[in-house]
């Protein structure tokens, strides 16, 4: 009985088009990536040096306040400052690890800032982050 000799044929995957595939991936991600458009009220953030990156983006709610005293939570304008309490309390229930990113204009008055803080305290949203730019 004769056995056919197994031919040791090397199986090869053609890699010539590999770069094309990778470039295609690269292009796909470049094209589909949309950078988050800034929502809320345009504010000019204050400067500070001890700033840290805010991790866990999922749990972050932004509160904006400009120098005219307009306030918005994420992108919803707030009419009455006392409305913050119920909105934030609702969010606090949904997200127990809620961090509130306070994006206040550097020229806004402390009266507004303090009012918002008081509302946050009443809503039990105690972890805040005073959003700032790096600088002196």
């Amino acid at each position: 009985m004769t056995f056919k000799k197994k031919s040791s044929e090397m199986g090869e995957i053609p890699t010539a088009s590999m770069p094309d595939i990778v470039f295609q991936l690269l292009l796909f991600f470049m094209v589909t990536t949309t950078f988050r458009q800034s929502t809320g009220i345009p504010v000019d953030l204050p400067v500070a040096r001890m700033i840290k990156k805010l991790e866990a983006k999922k749990n972050v709610t932004n509160i904006f306040a400009d120098s005219q005293g307009n306030i918005s939570i994420d992108d919803k304008l707030i009419d009455k400052i006392t409305d913050i309490r119920s909105i934030m309390y609702q969010k606090r229930i949904e997200m127990p690890l809620l961090i509130v990113s306070l994006k206040f204009d550097k020229n806004s008055s402390m009266a507004t800032v303090s009012d918002i803080q008081e509302e946050l305290r009443k809503a039990d949203a105690l972890k805040v982050n005073y959003c700032a730019k790096f600088g002196d």
């Binding site: 204050p46 800032v113 303090s114």
Partner: protein, 134 residues
Amino acid sequence: MLIEKRRARKAYIPTCSMADIAFLLLTFFLVTTSLDLDKGLGLTLPAAGDARPIPKKNIISLLINASGAVMLDEEPIEVNMIKDRITTRLMENPLVLVSIKTDARTKYQNFVSVLDQVQMAMGETPRISIAEPE
């Protein structure tokens, strides 16, 4: 005369490492792209109604007036000196708390600068309290 017949020599660029180059580019952009994360000073506010008496010697009070001038325990101080003063006070008394009080018309930037200085000395602790302006 003998003219040598020009042979069309086959020249080729090796494309083996093209994939590696493309991957390198891909990883480079993946690593260097940082989506604009929010940066800022963290703080934990005291819970509502969480007022307890604190001995006066354990409090450093910082007052900021409407024009941004700062007083530390009744004496005026430059904003960039606050860090050193609090550091010394912390060494004398590690239980010390900082209370920041502002005027209603104080600009937010002044408050952030002061808070920045305090956090440089103390880090992010719940031992910083912000009093309501009168």
